[in-house]
Amino acid sequence: MRKVRHSELKGWEFLSPTLVLLLFLGVVPILYVIYLSLFRYDLFSVVGMRYIGLDNYRKLFSDPVFLYSLALGLRFAATTCVIQIFLGLILALFLARNFTGKGLVRGVISLPIAVAPVAIGSVWILLTNVEVGPLPYLAEKIFGIQYNIGLSAGQAFLTVVIMDVWHWTPFVTLAFLAALTMRPQEPLEAAKIDGASSWQSFRYVTLPFLEPVLITVVLIRVMDALRIYDEVRILTDGGPGSATRFVSIHIAKMVVSQARYGYSATMSVFVLYLTIVICWLLYILISRRGGAGATKAA
């Protein structure tokens, strides 16, 4: 049996308050939600709380409304993450260069991150209002398009995507920019001496260097996109019809408005599980590809 050293014990002693806090604030609520998911528990039911085992989970896979909102949420997450990472990388590469007014441009680009999601939703309500908003007016005047997010499901989805991209691309940009600023110049200079083109320098030197940041950004953005709520709740409230009823909106409506605690808990547990699985798969995928790229570069 391994002897525990005094210094190790001291370390656990110091860690214990944080661990207890994490246990109560992080683990206990999740365990409670898992526990609730095994019950039929509707606040306004006259039959009370009943243990039903895995029935809620079985029901979940045959619930078309839940499956639809889950698919919609995944579609939204995939669309926004790809666009944000692409745009964020381009902007970061642009801002990493030296030019006059760089500080000002960086400041302006970062502004949307500072705005509260509720305020973003409210601003976009005004922008897209059919009767007074500038976007429907300009869409009609310039492109001859009838832009009405209360009427068109496609336009509503697209608007929510654009709103999210506008809100979170600066975050992606700043993350990449931080990594680019830390990038050592020697490998780039060596590549230049070896006759590498700009694209080759980017593909085989810069990109592998950005890999850890890319993984972090992708994971954060995927998790964020899957749980998007505030902006969409304010702007469309899931509509028109169910065009923007993402899974987070759907769960919130079930738990807050309908007070169906048992079934909502099941949905929450499943979405948490799915998010973890997706993030793990993405991590594996990106790190393997990145690793291959890095090896090639070496």
Binding site: F44, V46, N148
Partner: protein, 486 residues
């Protein structure tokens, strides 16, 4: 001449003495009144009560009128009166009452959801409270003086709330446009009949089309219809409370005996009549302003107040504002109200057989103030409710809000004057209150309304057909009713 002067002098003296006596008597009464409040509140002096209000014109009036401060000054009871939107209010209350945190002692609660709270045993029985504490019953409480609103705060013969809001959702129209000679002439030329407030849906549709076309023709921002068609709970309430009843689909299409919605189980929700009504509602949206599918109750009100709509079915809790407040409306003095149009056979049926069980044509909004059973401050809370609804405050209340709670306030000259300004709306409210009823008593109201919403919004957006919507909806309602033990 001298005699005449003497007589006039005596008459003047008599009048003045009478006035002085009346003023003195009033002062004495007022002083006695104040003494009663002070005495009744004495045991609760220094306590704080928290009453959650909804963002409505009535709540805003209560906050702005200074009556809370007056109550605090007289009684020494501190009152917190925070406000929340309809959905927030519901969420806050079920969190508080469900978890037993006792943040709120009472609330101004929508009639729609009160039965859910009653079913959970969260509401304080005011009859019991009065029996236990007769010393806190205001001598002039006069419960029978409350109008129909009192019925919606009474369950199983016991009083669970004191009414604080009472208005109807009904047909509102631009009286000035309906009386415009050019418009009247154009309408008659097109439809071969006089332009008049519609009695049935066919007439309503003609008028809607006419005004939308008129707006286009004249190049003005005018439409013949408004609605609350956003993917929002307002849509479900509008259809269930305002559009289905005049088509003869009552109690949300649910049979109150079997508690089921499908036709095969006694309901009417998937009946041909309900499908006709929903289809008509969707078809009518083309006559509304371009943004009508983004409207909830707020925007529907704003569309009328901004002068861009000629007619619509609106919550009249805002009607006094629209008709009298130039800061909130550009159509001050230009509006009229009338009974909601119906199918002709529905109105004939209702006028023959008056009564809730026989059906209704629209919604009466009768929010009561309720005290919560877990609260330890029920007595001061009840005192505050009586303070807000005391007779001497009612004239100011009616004039400011256009809501009517007490029958006695209707004879007040200021209220009569307001009724004239509102083009007879208060008459409509009191004369036809039997045609407008509140939501049915569903204990699982909160769950049901969201299910209705989720189906209606998809039909309105064109994702599913009207027939699929109501068939699927009726099936899900039956299923959830069964699951929840109803």
């Amino acid at each position: 001449m001298h005699k005449l002067l003497k007589k006039r002098f005596l008459a003047t003296l008599l009048c003045m003495s009478f006035l002085v006596f009346a003023v003195l008597a009033g002062t004495v009464l007022a002083a006695e009144d104040l003494d009663w409040w002070k005495e009744a509140a004495a045991p609760y002096k220094g306590q704080t009560i928290t009453i959650l209000g909804e963002f409505t014109p009535v709540s805003e009036f209560i906050l702005e009128s200074g009556t809370i401060e007056e109550f605090e000054e007289i009684t020494g009871i501190k009152v917190n009166f925070p406000m929340a939107t309809f959905e927030e209010l519901f969420a806050k209350l079920i969190q508080d009452l469900g978890q037993g945190t006792k943040i709120y002692d009472g609330a101004n609660i929508e009639q729609d959801i009160i039965f859910s709270f009653y079913g959970k045993g969260w509401l304080a029985n005011l009859d019991k409270l009065m029996e236990e504490h007769p010393e806190i019953i205001y001598p002039d409480l006069d419960l029978p003086d409350f109008n129909v609103s009192r019925n919606y705060a009474t369950y199983d013969g016991n009083l669970y709330g004191i009414p604080i809001e009472c208005s109807i959702k009904t047909y509102v129209y631009r009286k000035d446009l309906f009386e415009d000679p050019e418009i009247k002439e154009a309408f008659k030329a097109e439809y071969g009949r006089d332009l008049a407030v519609p009695e049935d849906w066919h007439q309503y549709e003609q008028i809607a089309k006419f005004f939308t076309d008129w707006g286009k023709k004249k190049g003005i921002d005018l439409y013949g219809h408004t609605a609350e068609a956003k993917a929002h709970v307002a849509l479900a309430y509008e259809l269930l409370l305002q559009y289905f009843p005049p088509w003869g689909i009552w109690t949300w299409g649910i049979n109150m005996d079997t508690m089921r919605a499908s036709v095969e189980r006694g309901g009417t929700l998937d009946s041909p009549r309900a499908k006709e009504a929903l289809q008509w509602y969707i078809d009518m949206l083309k006559y509304g302003p371009p943004g009508v599918r983004t409207y909830t109750w707020d925007e529907a009100f704003a569309s009328m107040a901004s002068g861009k709509v000629a007619q619509g079915l609106l919550y009249c809790e805002w009607f006094a504002d629209m008709q009298t407040n130039p800061e909130k409306s550009v159509v001050v003095g230009k509006l009229g109200t009338n009974l909601t149009p119906t199918l002709p056979e529905v109105m004939n049926h209702l006028m023959r057989r008056r009564g809730y069980d026989e059906g209704y044509i629209g919604y009466i909004e009768t929010n009561p103030l309720v005290a919560f059973e877990p609260s330890e401050n029920k007595e001061p809370t009840f005192l505050f409710f009586q303070w807000l609804t005391r007779k001497s405050f009612m004239t100011e209340y009616v004039v400011a809000t256009g809501n009517v709670l007490r029958k006695s306030s209707l004879s007040d000259p200021a209220v009569i004057e307001l009724n004239e300004k509102l083009n007879g709306y208060l008459d409509l409210l009191t004369r036809y209150d039997f045609l407008y009823v509140g939501s049915p008593d569903f204990g699982n109201h909160a769950t049901l309304i969201q299910i209705y919403k989720s189906w209606f919004e998809r039909a309105v957006a064109g994702e599913i057909s009207v027939s699929d919507c109501l068939d699927g909806l009726a099936e899900e309602i039956d299923q959830i009713m069964e699951e929840m033990g109803y």
